[in-house]
Amino acid sequence: MAKKKENIKIKDDEFEDFRVGDTIYRTKTTKSYRERKPYQVPNPRRLSAFIPGTIAEINVKIGDKVKSGEIMMLLEAMKMKNQVKAPFDGIVKNIFVKVGQVVAKDFIMVELK
């Protein structure tokens, strides 16, 4: 039976200390636990792709002044040209993408100051 094979054998070297509250338990961890992403404080000045897609248009260049709500880029994804708007009045500090570039979700596209 398959389940015989899946059985977790108790071997000391596979265990680690695992803290819950103030107590340390001896236990194993799971792959998804080990691979969990560390939390990062979001930086509102850095705009990242909210959906994976292709940069269709860039309307600003470094040093440009932008007004809150101004469309800086078009991010084409899921058959839709999504607008990337400036979240506040600022100056474009850096642009990390080119037209035609394919970006993954959370890829930082532009930085304001």
């Binding site: 059985n7 695992f18 799971t30 897609g53």
Partner: protein, 515 residues
């Protein structure tokens, strides 16, 4: 024409239809290490029990030269038969016929046998091996999927629905298995995803193989979409047959009763398996085996969210569903995935009249930003909902730790467990002794001449006073504190006297569970 000629004509037609996509396509199927659709049905069902319907169904599509193509049985086999002597309805997609693609008539055959299963109140088994929608049939193939999903949903909790993925199952097709009770997958053969590697590559430029994206291992270990993982089709069919020994044939019936057998106490002795020190690990499945008939335990979702264990066993010959914290993995904490896993299983058991046994040993919910942001509130609430709503006999055994929210969630007296037993090693408290002492005596510790030794003293005091089953027992939240070797006896008796348990919940259309 004579009877003989008519009969031989029928035989000729049948032998042509049975060939499916023809010798070449069958050869290709076999070379991929796969059985053909018909072989699969025959292997799974009892010998000579399979009867096929709709063998001569043909598609009626006209566009894109489809009218010139003949597809045997339109790429799917449907029929009825028996497993362990009990009736089942079954369908199997035939990949050798146009890649098992789903067109209008193909879907009509599937919905026909699903409707039969609902009328006859017998389980439905679907063997999926399909490239997806038949593009040439356009919106009609979408309609087909929708009709299947609707039936999956309506049949849910009435008849058992089993999905066996033995090939690709991509795009919208994946939602039928997702709506059914159990999904079986086989290594290197099964693949499930919404968007395949090619779309992902063209949209994202990310490279991934089919196996790494949606293979059996991924769904058994990472996503939790698969309930059973096997290394071969044969092993998979054996798992299905074994599952059918534990479950009833519809929601008005009881699973088969088997002869009662004592546990193999020589191999599984509680006192040898179980460490009293609450920080020491052990495999809770050995505890289950130490009390179950013949030390048998049929585990579900062994690899995913392994910090909780779910599965079936028998006590005195009758099926019982077991939910147990697993101190071996992540100290047995509850988290997003383990709450999901247990809650769904509890609702399954409740829908099919299977009593629940809950074994408790957990430090609580897993702390962490990732858990909070993953919605541990919403997911954790599923467990409370499922246990509270369940009206089957509910028996709980608190073995060691039962702290805080974890104590409440694991089928406590307050969620209307019928019987809560505790071993003398149980610690039922609002939190672990260290944390509790640190909060309660914060001021005194800070003001003490030697804060560390004062803290240790207070922790020890708290342990003595509260880290035991007797405070909860004094309020009647624990029905009996029992010795370890009395466990089976108490549980058997509780089950025996709960047989005609009746609970009437307020009339409603349905609740709003925290999905």
């Amino acid at each position: 024409m004579s009877l003989r000629i008519k009969t031989s004509d029928l035989r000729k037609r049948m032998s042509e239809a049975i060939k499916g996509g023809g010798d070449k396509a069958i050869e290709k199927q076999v070379s991929m290490g796969k059985m053909t659709a018909r072989e699969r049905i025959i292997e799974l069902l009892d010998k000579k029990s399979f009867f096929e319907y709709d063998l001569f169904v043909e598609h009626a599509a006209k566009d894109f030269d489809m009218d010139k193509k003949k597809l045997a049985g339109d790429g799917v086999i449907i029929g009825t038969g028996t497993i362990n002597g009990h009736p089942v309805c079954i369908y199997a997609q035939d990949f050798t016929v146009a890649g098992g693609s789903l067109g209008y008539m193909h879907a009509r055959k599937i919905t026909k046998i699903m409707d039969h299963a609902m009328k006859l109140k017998v389980p439905i088994i679907g063997i999926n091996d399909s490239g997806g929608a038949r593009i040439q049939e356009g919106v009609n193939s979408l309609a087909g999927y929708g009709e299947i999903f609707y039936r999956n949903t309506i049949s849910s909790g009435v008849i058992p629905q089993i999905s066996v993925i033995l090939g690709p199952c991509a795009g919208g097709a994946v939602y039928s298995p997702a709506l059914t009770d159990y999904v079986f997958m086989v290594d290197k053969i099964s693949k499930m995803f919404i968007t395949g590697p090619e779309v992902i590559r063209s949209v994202l430029g990310e490279e991934i193989s089919m196996e790494a994206l949606g293979g059996a291992k991924v769904h058994a270990e990472k996503t939790g979409n698969a309930h059973f993982y096997a290394e071969s089709e044969k092993e998979c069919f054996n798992q299905i047959k074994e599952l059918f020994t534990y479950i009833p044939w519809n929601n008005t019936k009881k699973a088969d009763t088997f002869p009662s057998k004592p546990p193999k106490t020589r191999d599984y002795k509680i006192s040898k398996i179980f460490p009293a020190d609450p920080t020491e690990p052990y495999d809770v499945r050995d505890i289950i085996r130490s009390i179950s008939d013949d030390s048998n335990f049929f585990e579900i979702q062994t690899l995913w969210a392994a910090n909780i264990v779910i599965g079936f066993t028998r006590l005195d010959g009758d099926t019982i569903g077991v939910v147990a914290n697993q101190p071996l993995v992540l100290a047995g904490v509850l988290d997003v995935d383990s709450s999901d896993k247990a809650a769904r299983f509890i609702r399954y058991c409740d829908a099919f009249n299977i009593p629940l046994l809950t074994l408790v040993d957990l430090p609580g919910y897993l702390p962490g930003i990732d858990q909070e942001h993953a919605g541990v509130i919403r997911h954790g609430a599923k467990l409370l909902y499922a246990y509270s709503e369940a009206t089957v006999p509910k028996i709980t055994l608190i073995m060691r730790k039962a702290y805080g929210g974890g104590y409440i969630a694991m089928c406590s007296n307050h969620l209307k467990a019928d019987f809560v037993f505790a071993w003398p090693t149980a610690e039922i408290a609002v939190m672990g002794p260290t944390g509790a002492a640190n909060i309660i005596f914060r001021k005194e510790i800070a003001q003490a001449d030697d804060p560390d030794s004062f803290r240790e003293k207070k922790i020890e005091e708290y342990k003595q006073k509260y880290a035991n089953p007797y405070v909860a027992a004094a309020y009647g939240y624990i029905d009996s504190v029992i010795e370890l070797n009395e466990t089976r006896k108490f549980i058997l008796h509780a089950l025996e006297i709960s047989q005609s348990k009746t609970v009437v919940l307020p009339a409603k259309k349905h609740g709003i569970p925290p999905f």
